[in-house]
Symmetry: C2
Subunit: 337 residues, 2 copies
DNA sequence: CGAGCGACGTTATACGTAACACGTCATTGA
DNA sequence: TCAATGACGTGTTACGTATAACGTCGCTCG
């Protein structure tokens, strides 16, 4: 609230224009056809302009009982991925007269705070990434229409889910590596308890166990380049035969793997093939450029918003996972170069 | 608004607890010491819990006349930098009972929309990056307390400003390169009309023009790795003597420069030294790791929030730019290796 | 000629909350 | 004994908006 003089209200505008507050509301709300004369309407608009009137949103929201605003809950913004998700969601929202408030689950702000108290915005619905689910302790049951992103369709409390087809992405990666001749694969896995990461591990394991003569090991690490370096370095220098391919849960881990390979004197892709997942800008900055799975972040956001709109209108959101695409670049080659 | 049964109000809680609505407000607002008995208070809390009551924020905001919510306007989230700014701002805000709503200036959502209409949140103040200033066409004058980030202290309409000491960062980069013996420098500049980029160009120019025998050229490019590649490739293969050092406006441009150097067969740092600015995760993923200027994004956000809190309380925000730090890594060396 | 209607507004109300200004009863102090 | 005090609440109001319900006036039509 601005200090000093208080903000003008619709009543001030009414007084300035010599009409009632109701008339102001009608004119500015564009509902005056056949109720107010054109000249009066113009007089109201003029007064509003001169006073620089802005409707009080708190009052409007209270009166209307809705806000046409949804909350997008995401993990801490350490990559551009969820920026893309926001862009997609906001675009669709704008087309339907909605606004999107972005709530990055705040790392290190102490105990997970209630995003609803924190955002202080009155909301019509929520889209939440399962990776930020710990921030959602306060969503209980059916308080608010909810769409989950990348969440287990079962066990999501009946909330609608929109998922990337990560399983298919892992399938494509695995097939690509197998067709190159790799048989011994190391999985550099994120140590986050989230469905989307469980899918990677499960799909990789089932795919490889179906093919005799293959070997799969796993190394866990927090999602940061530095942590990934040490995890990859340790795993790659473990006794026994060295893996010829490294499947990383995301591109940042792959970047860490590159550094680990350099330290160990391993050439990519001659000595070690590496794959990522996300297709961040980072992937093309690496040398050699990273073979990875492209996720369409904006489409993800669009689909999430469409699903939420469907829920809000009482429709059933359309199902179907979002397809992903393997992008083969220079980091993968047959074992031994 | 949830469909079907409507949400419980404080009056519902009052009825369930057998007290008046006022008592509910007192108890839940923690203002009941000496006004309501402990047993009654507990009865109210119990009823609220059973009904899963949540106060209507629109109503509260209307009544209170403020929201304890501020808006953080930033450019599209294409790097993790503004994620860090948000984290810092949200941390300080939380300590003072405020919430932060993040508004990334939506690239490609059509005409620049009014963030205030879009966010639909009633706000107490705004922190805005000058890089997203085009989204702010609707901030006119003193409507809302405003703090600008990385904006020209003059010409900011009297708004408080919080700046990183970019000029000093450029100074450190320049001194570093000069002391290594570089005399011919190419500036890979972002083609964004924003004060923070003007500072880079100006400081570099004045620094070099003060030293005879130096040569400075400039190539402009949009901030994306792909665009930077072509811009750098063109500039580096231009006729005449080749620059020995490349100063990039940010780390993403530097990543593009790396690719351009590879295409041209130039080794970094032997044939070409490269510097960036930001110290994104990307900087350490490059090979060789990038010499760059570290910006403390979280501190930036903290200082921005502190400044806004000062404005809100009628105090004068403390001045002083935020120090930055040159991080020397493997991408810079004396010319010729 | 009077009922009906369209054009042009106004009056009144409710949304849910916070808090001011009172009440009521029992206990206390002089 | 009687006013004063404290403990424990309640009645009422206002925040600024959107809209349902209600006038009023002049004209038309049967």
């Amino acid at each position: 609230m601005a200090r000093g003089s208080t903000r003008p209200t619709s009543r001030d505008v009414a007084q300035a224009a010599g009409v009632s507050q109701a008339a102001v509301s009608l004119v500015l709300g564009d509902k005056w056809r056949g109720r107010v004369s054109e000249t009066t309407a113009e007089r109201v608009r003029q007064a509003a302009r001169e006073l620089d009137y802005r409707p009080n949103l708190a009052a409007r929201n209270l009166r209307l009982g809705h806000t046409r605003t949804v909350l997008l809950v995401v993990p801490a913004l350490t990559t551009e991925f969820f920026g893309g998700v926001y862009t997609g969601a906001a675009r669709v929202a704008a087309q339907h007269g909605f606004g999107v408030v972005l709530y990055p689950s705040p790392a290190g702000i102490g105990p997970a705070r209630d995003p609803f108290a924190s955002a202080q915005a009155a909301l019509d619905g929520v889209i939440a990434s399962s990776m930020a689910a710990d921030a959602l302790t306060d969503i209980r049951g059916d308080q608010l229409p909810l769409v989950m992103l990348d969440s287990n369709p079962e066990g999501s409390l009946g909330a609608a889910t929109v998922n990337l087809d990560i399983a298919d992405g892992v399938r494509q990666v695995t097939d690509h590596l197998l067709s190159l001749g790799h048989r011994h694969i190391l999985h550099l896995a994120a140590d986050i308890a989230s469905w989307t990461f469980e899918v990677r591990a499960r799909e990789l394991a089932t795919r490889l166990s179906a093919l005799p003569g293959t070997l799969l090991r796993t190394a866990h690490t927090p999602i940061s380049i530095e942590d990934a370096v040490t995890a990859a370095e340790t795993a790659l220098s473990a006794p026994g035969p060295r893996p010829t391919a490294l499947v990383c849960d995301d591109d940042k881990l792959a970047a860490g793997a590159y550094k680990a390979a350099r330290r160990l004197g391993l050439r990519i892709p001659e000595d070690l093939s590496v794959t990522g997942l996300d297709d961040l800008a980072l992937a093309q900055a690496l040398d050699p450029e990273l073979t990875t799975v492209r996720l369409d972040a904006e489409l993800f956001g669009e689909r999430g918003m469409h699903a939420l709109l469907a829920v809000l209108e009482g429709r059933t959101p359309e199902g179907g996972d979002i397809p992903v695409e393997l992008v083969v670049r220079g980091s993968t080659a047959p074992p031994g170069g």
